[in-house]
């Protein structure tokens, strides 16, 4: 068993371990590479933050990730690029079928994005700068250094603004996060994983380690006998003679999601007949948490305040969604299900469950949440607007939202699955033709059946339905990036010039 200090935190970019919550000033820069040689020179000395803890914690941090075009522009060989997943290679907006799956249709369609919507618009590099309050400009100057302006062209600086630990609608953000099991102490064997656990195998988030299937996710491996440069890279744990370009790296999914805060609260205010308590209750039902983050399901440990347990619960005691509606945003985003519908007592019971017997017709529709977890690192943008101000007709309609970021080892099984099979799915867990009340687009089904409503099951019998939901969240941009480990960054910055492709 590995000791805590054994994990190669010094080769990980810090974002994999820290949210940098104290560093409230951020600058997310979308760059194109205009001169690959200068870019590599800059990269060689760029102070990319590692995941090693520092005491006192740093005042600044810098993280870097590349799109596939960025890696190509720097001269990464096509044979290495081909080791990445298809989603990464094709890109978030590179295939209409993917856009359809992600719900990027209608007003979310890439054609209307502000950035990243077509192949020519995909940025090469994503630079994430973090600093304590007021320190971002100085930090930006520091990191840019001498080669920066010649190396890169700034396509866009994505807006970010710290408005507290909430997202623009006013709810606490990023409460549900997996705890990475760095030491791999928890078994991934399904026999020991009936129940939901928040601990997650490192391979789900970081490439080069075992994932929840006990397997290594496919990633670029390099034969160092053919490519001497690769000797700087770590060994591939599962394929030792080869070097692992992916190890300690992760895929970074970025989506700029615009949130119509006045639209959301004004709609609810109308539905709630302008009664504040009712308005907040409806909002809580749609989100699946109260405004202070309290989950809607009863605490599973009696006698302890629910508030302390804002992440320590499952929906096992609420299978019909009487407390937290099945379609509520947080329930869709993480249904907190184990591998079996309910915990098995004994081998016979287990067998009965595996064979599918003894279940209600609406049971076990969503299982094995552990294969679909996301490590979220998003930041908000736009000025804060409290619910009580948002309902006023003169509420400012400034552009607000979230720069959604998640880190995953497998884009299709994690981010795309959550987006497609859970949040955008009009049939998620047996709901009746409704999409995520917050995130969902409102496109009708092929049959013409509308999906713009939200049902709350009610113990009294009939469901409570809110109809004609407007779309509250619109995708404005997005892309798939690879955030390499620090040794892989060294490899990239040392790539020979003659390999460099012509930058676009």
């Amino acid at each position: 068993m590995k000791e805590s200090s054994d994990f190669e935190f010094d080769d990980l970019q810090g974002l994999l371990r820290f949210g940098y919550g104290k560093l409230t000033d951020t600058s997310f820069m979308l760059l194109n590479i205009v001169n690959a040689e200068l870019a590599k020179k800059w990269l060689e000395t760029a102070p990319i933050s590692s995941a090693v803890t520092q005491d006192p914690p740093p005042d600044t941090a810098l993280q870097i990730a590349f799109s596939v075009e960025g890696l190509r522009a720097l001269g990464l060989e096509e044979s290495v690029v081909e080791g990445f997943s298809d989603e990464f290679i094709v890109g978030m907006a590179g295939d209409e079928s993917r856009s359809r799956r992600l719900g990027d249709v209608g007003s979310n369609a890439p054609q209307q994005w502000k950035w990243g919507g077509n192949a020519a618009q995909v940025p090469h590099v994503l630079l994430l700068l973090y600093a304590t309050k007021g320190g971002i400009n100085a930090w930006q100057k520091t990191i840019e250094g001498e080669y920066f302006s010649g190396a890169f062209q700034l396509l866009q600086e994505l807006p970010t603004l710290h408005i507290g630990d909430i997202e623009p609608f006013g709810f606490p953000d990023s409460v549900s996060q997996p705890t990475v099991d760095w030491m791999q102490r928890q078994s991934t064997d399904t026999h020991e994983r009936d129940r939901y656990s928040n601990l997650l195998a490192p391979g789900e988030i970081v490439l080069g380690y075992r994932n929840e299937y006990g397997q290594y996710t496919v990633r670029p491996l390099i034969d160092s006998r053919k490519d001497k440069l690769a000797t700087v890279l770590p060994d591939a744990e599962d394929d030792p003679p080869l070097k692992d370009f992916g190890r300690n790296g992760t895929y970074l999914v970025l989506r700029q999601l615009s949130q119509d805060v006045p639209g959301f609260w004004q709609f609810l205010d109308k539905v709630a007949d302008h009664i504040p308590e009712k308005r907040e209750r409806l909002a809580a039902a749609m989100v699946g948490r109260e405004l202070d983050g309290t989950p809607l399901v009863p605490a599973h440990i009696p006698g302890i305040s629910r508030k302390e347990y804002e992440n320590d619960f499952t929906y096992d005691q609420d299978p019909k969604g009487n407390y937290c509606p099945l379609g509520a945003h947080v329930r869709r985003s993480n249904p907190r299900t184990g591998d079996l519908p309910t915990s098995a007592c004994g081998p016979l019971d287990r067998l009965i469950k595996i064979l599918g017997f003894g279940q209600r017709p609406d049971e076990d529709l969503v299982a094995s949440s552990r294969f679909h977890r996301l490590l979220r690192r998003g930041r908000t943008y736009g000025p804060a607007l409290a619910p009580k101000d948002a309902i006023k007709p003169q509420a400012s309609v400034a552009e607000r939202g979230i720069q959604f970021i998640c880190l995953v080892g497998n884009i299709s099984r994690q981010f795309e699955f959550v987006q497609n099979a859970w949040t955008m799915n009009s049939k998620f867990d047996g709901v009746q033709d409704e999409k995520d009340p917050m995130l969902g687009n409102r496109e009708p089904l092929m049959s013409g059946e509308s999906t713009d409503h939200f049902n709350s099951p009610d113990p009294s019998g009939p469901m409570r339905t809110i109809g004609h939901l407007p779309q509250f969240v619109t995708t404005l941009g997005g892309g798939y990036f690879f955030m390499p480990g620090l040794r892989a960054l060294k490899y990239i910055s040392a790539l020979p010039a003659n390999r460099t492709g012509s930058p676009s």
């Binding site: 599918g356 279940q359 089904l445």
Partner: protein, 434 residues
């Protein structure tokens, strides 16, 4: 109760006709791979006994993989397959098909070997080219297309009405609510806006055959059990040896191939799936495959016939078919949700079952004692199933927008209309479905 049946008409495509045939089939679609229900060749929407239909051109895209076993690939000519899942028996459905779509069918089949458009006995040819599946799965045996449409209309109508009256009547007054809903249904029926056709009597010969099958298969297995036990032991050891020595093929499908498949997916709430590949060489593999499918068919017919196949509740119809003189196998299904979630269910919910069956197919990831590992070798599994998947030229589903879970719910709602609940809790449960 009207039992379901299926057909699969197959014929090799004539040399040089492939392109024309594809274009002709594509002319039936209004979305990539999705049939226009009113298309001019076969107006699927007019057949009220047809659940699903598809035209697929079966090509052996993975024909070379068997070389890894030291076996020379058998030649395979691209083959047109016309599949359907229907209520009632095949013969009367074929007659109906011919009555409504003879010119269209002839036009399509004229691209196939052994068919001439001029003087062809169409029915005879269709019968002669129909092949039976080794195993079929029907989500709910006895649920007809007509019933599905009627119950969906019932649900829609009740749901709208309940929303209208719930607050006026009071949500707690469940008995009054039920009374109002039941009266409403009677009124709608009287006005001809709702129909709830009672089920047809079960055909006696089907009942008899089904009963014989239900008793016969276990009986024969029981009688043969001493022998089977001995064979099972030998087979288990032999299979374990094969598992250790069989090559594992870790081949990533091309992005072009994936794009061809995904363009047809997620246009609506359900998707189609067709895979085709080689059976592993050797009699042990073939016999194991056949035996597992015999059991699959048995369980599907008699046990998993009401809404779930083990833990999976998203498959409408599925079939397993041996082709090319038992050298190859074809699997087709109609399922709810995205491909990625289908694979998720395959791996996490029924990986064991998939392993049992497809461990005998070339390219399937290595299993241990034929139920372990396999599908949970995630990449190897996802690669191989995509590699062996073939695009569908034309796909038709009679009830877009409805999942198998929806259908089961609608049936329960109908049941609540026809059978009175005995207490308030049951009424509440019924109301919560609407």
């Amino acid at each position: 109760m009207t039992p379901q049946s299926s057909f699969m008409i197959v014929a090799a495509v004539r040399d040089g006709q492939l392109k024309d045939l594809r274009a002709l089939l594509a002319s039936m679609n209004n979305l990539p791979g999705h049939a226009d229900p009113d298309n001019g060749l076969i107006p699927f929407g007019k057949f009220d006994r047809l659940h699903f239909a598809r035209f697929v051109i079966i090509e052996a895209r993975t024909v070379q993989e068997i070389r890894e076993f030291g076996v020379t690939p058998r030649p395979w000519q691209p083959t047109l397959a016309f599949l359907g899942d229907i209520d009632g028996d095949m013969q009367t459905f074929f007659l109906e098909l011919i009555e409504r779509a003879e010119p269209g069918l002839k036009k399509i089949f004229s691209h196939c070997e052994g068919f001439s458009e001029e003087n062809q006995d169409l029915l005879g040819w269709m019968n002669a080219n129909n092949i039976n599946a080794s195993a079929t799965y029907v989500n709910w045996i006895g649920r007809t297309v007509r019933q599905i449409h009627e119950e969906a209309a019932l649900h829609r109508s009740l749901s709208t009405y309940l929303q209208k009256i719930a607050d006026d009547v009071g949500r707690e007054n469940v008995r009054t609510l039920r009374q109002k809903l039941l009266s409403y249904v009677e009124m709608e029926k009287y006005k001809g806006r709702l129909t709830l056709t009672p089920p047809e009597p079960t055909p006696p010969e089907w009942k008899m055959r089904n009963l014989l099958h239900m008793i016969g298969v276990p009986l024969i297995l029981l009688l043969l059990s001493p022998l089977l036990l001995v064979i099972a032991l030998i087979f288990a050891l032999r299979l374990r040896m094969l598992e250790r020595s069989d090559p594992e093929l870790f081949i990533r499908p091309s992005r072009e191939h994936l794009a061809e498949l995904t363009v047809q997916e997620d246009q609506d709430v359900s998707n189609q799936y067709s895979v085709f590949g080689d059976v592993k060489p050797g009699v042990v593999r073939l016999l194991t495959f056949k035996f597992i499918l015999l059991l699959t068919d048995y369980f599907a017919r008699h046990i998993y016939n009401h809404g779930f196949l083990a833990r999976i509740k998203t498959i409408h119809f599925a079939r397993w078919v041996f082709m090319d003189n038992n050298h190859r196998v074809f699997f087709a299904s109609n399922y709810d949700g995205s491909h990625e979630s289908y694979m998720d269910d395959f791996i996490n919910k029924v990986g064991w079952g998939l392993n049992l069956t497809f461990t005998n197919g070339v390219g399937y990831p290595t299993t241990r004692w034929i139920i372990k590992e396999g599908a949970s070798r995630e990449h190897a599994f996802k690669y191989t199933q995509r590699r062996h998947q073939i695009p569908t030229e034309v796909w038709y589903k009679a009830y877009p927008g409805l999942t198998a879970v929806d259908l089961a719910r609608n049936s329960r709602i109908r049941q609540g209309v026809e059978i009175r609940q005995s207490n308030d809790a049951e009424i509440r449960e019924w109301l919560s479905l609407i």
